[in-house]
Amino acid sequence: MLFFSKRPTVKSLLSVKPFVVFPLLALSSQAFAKSSEVVAGEAQRWGMNMPQGVTATSHEIYDLHMLIFMICVWIGVVVFGVMFYSMIMHRKSAGAVPSKFHESTLVELAWTIIPAIILVAMAVPATSTLIKIYDTSDADIDIKVVGYQWKWQYEYLGEEVSFFSNLTTPQDEIYGRVPKGEHYLLEVDEPVVIPINKKVRFLITANDVIHAWWVPALAVKRDAIPGYINDVWTIVDEPGIYRGQCAELCGKAHGFMPIVVHAMEEVDYQQWLDTKKVEAEELKLAMSQSFSMDDLYARGEKVYQTNCVACHGPAGAGGVGPSLIGSSITTGPMNGHLSLMINGVQGSAMQAFGEQLNNIDMAAVITYKRNAWGNNMGDMLQPVDVLNHKRSL
């Protein structure tokens, strides 16, 4: 049975860890995290079974999965055993003479009742697991997760912390122009950070079409449906980086909106949260500052590569979206360009970025677009201009 070979793999992976840990203790924790992930990456290559995961629920689901699987295997062994026995023993070429029997109430009753009993035996643990999964009460932390075409937004409720999580795999890797990185398609600019040993509740919804938020190691998968809120919870046992993907077809870039969960010790989490809050404050301050053309251009290029490249292409020459080179928008009046960026184009794939980009990034990306690829408009936009524009509307 091919499924079994995974078990030793998991074990060997676990037993490898201490060997890796000791020599590396002296090194920085980052280096350790990296190398243990490389080991994990190698071991996963021929992965053929469900991951056991890092939560009580994921373990329970794994056990349930293995239980049902084993029951199926044994039924298969018996049923196919009888079948192959008759195929070998009752061949015409071996001189078998056919019997004439064609019914037996007793036998037929038996193979109706016995499977029914086995099913009840399966249903009991399944029900108890399901009840636990549905108990979302008494959460320590609530995080709202919003699916967008094609990225995730995380909002820490009551904390004023909110950000988008975008795929960072470069187009060059996707199109095979450079070698693919270790976490190809499973890497984001900002992972969602959670503390371990705390009940974290995810409130899941969507902005446009149906998505599904799935992290296998957490055994959490729930549809993100526009207009409706779903809740799921998790308590992660060990710190680590856990990767998942959108699991409901949501359009063109469905395969390109990964989920990365970074689970850390509670102290580290608090520190991270505080940094995020400070960042948010700093951002507010920076909104009133002025930036040089070079700063805006450089920042704008990054924003462009994250938010715009999928539709308008790496060199602004277009793709799904129109070309931005010499277009009436990018080389037209500044106010029109800004309004379009803020409000999007209803009924097209051009989203309203007013809520998605902060004023600095908005100013930067517009400055970039107006000056890159030979557009050379020479004008630029400051964050305060964006703010004033929003206010004046």
Binding site: G47, H65, F80, A126, I131, G255
Partner: protein, 517 residues
Amino acid sequence: MGDHGPAQGFGRWLFTTNHKDIGSMYLWFSFAMFLMGGVFALVIRAELFQPGLQLVEPEFFNQMTTMHGLVMVFGAVMPAFVGLANWLIPMMVGAPDMALPRMNNWSFWILPFAFALLTSTLFMEGGGPNFGWTFYAPLSTTYAPPSVTYFIFAVHIMGASSIMGSINIIATILNMRAPGMTLMKMPLFVWTWLITAYLLIAVMPVLAGCVTMMLMDIHFGTSFFNAAGGGDPVLFQHVFWFFGHPEVYIMILPAFGIVSAIIPTFARKPLFGYASMVYATASIAFLSFIVWAHHMFTVGMPIAGELFFMYATMLIAVPTGVKVFNWITTMFRGSMSFETPMLFSIAFVILFTIGGFSGLMLAIAPADFQYHDTYFVVAHFHYVLVPGAIFSIFAAVYYWLPKWCGNMYDERLGKAHFWLSFVGLNVTFFPMHFVGLAGMPRRIPDYALQFADFNQIASMGAFLFGFSQVFFLFIVIKTIRGGKQATDEVWESPEGLEWTIPSPAPYHTFTTPPAVK
């Protein structure tokens, strides 16, 4: 009806009301669609041969997955079964033709138009349907390409064709049986088709209603599936799967009938548990109406709903198990030989059971949270549909082709086709269990590196399986054009009225009803 033969030229096919002609047209059409859907599948597998985007862009990839599903379900499997029904049901119940021959002609001839319409969307601006064969709103409404309207009309026409076909089949079975052919004497293929036809009449109109609601949402400002106007995208899924789950049984019940005809012939022993086969089929059909939401375990149903649909789904294992046990007991202490139809039937029993096992695993709601929308699901439904529906159709063609054209197929070539298909299928779909469990979502054009190895194997298997079917085409054409003359019985004392008529079957059969004891 007189004793004259078929008309000449193209008019014969255009205006024919002969069940055998229409059956043949259905089968050829279905095979053409099978090849087209297969080409779509090979585009998918070629793109997935290695990580990265090599051959097609994600937009086109999504159109390929959608069209592959639609063409295979509505173009290949369903018309093939209707074709077999047309050929076989009148011969099996001792009727001269179908009950409504004129309607029979229409129900076939609207199909090519439906699929021409559907396929033409691929060349339209904005591309063809790209929202998966399950076309969940709002991806298929608010966010759909303009061609969605053509898709909707194509589905309407396919539905009309299926409904007309089903009405015809029910009317034939209920009204045209030879004297003495009581219901409980009918061959199982006729029984399973009778139940399938009722399922079709019950659910195809619901699908028509579903796409009509989509059409109204898109063009007439209603809000059936639009949350902003008080509608609900989850409602779409309920309506769709109310159709969709019986639909998957529509694609497997006739297969049960075929296998139940073939296994006794080659085990040289009567079918074990005929009556329980009929009751099991009826129970499966009934259960198919109350399990639809197991496709939606992750939408966030209340726990009571989740539990109900989990238990109901698990129950399906009981009647399905009865069928498998019956087939195996039919083989037990028989006198078996392994001609091509039997090989396909045995593979059907084994592989369909494996698909049933993964189905049982998927029924377990908590575990489904890990399986849902992964390649594990893809592996599951391909294991029930390819060795289930497709293999049974191959088996049926090998089994009845000598009766239809009067020539035996080449047994060596038939076996070669079987082994190529069998190996190709397993190499393609078995590794999908692994990548699915390891975490690969379905319907993605590109994937993380840890899934690369098994995907590469699956792609190679897919090409093997795909090209084996061209070989099948060759075998069928070779058989029609010549070969060893088949006897009237064709096989060693098979059961059924169709073996009492000459091979090849005359253009008109049973113009006077046979006596059934």
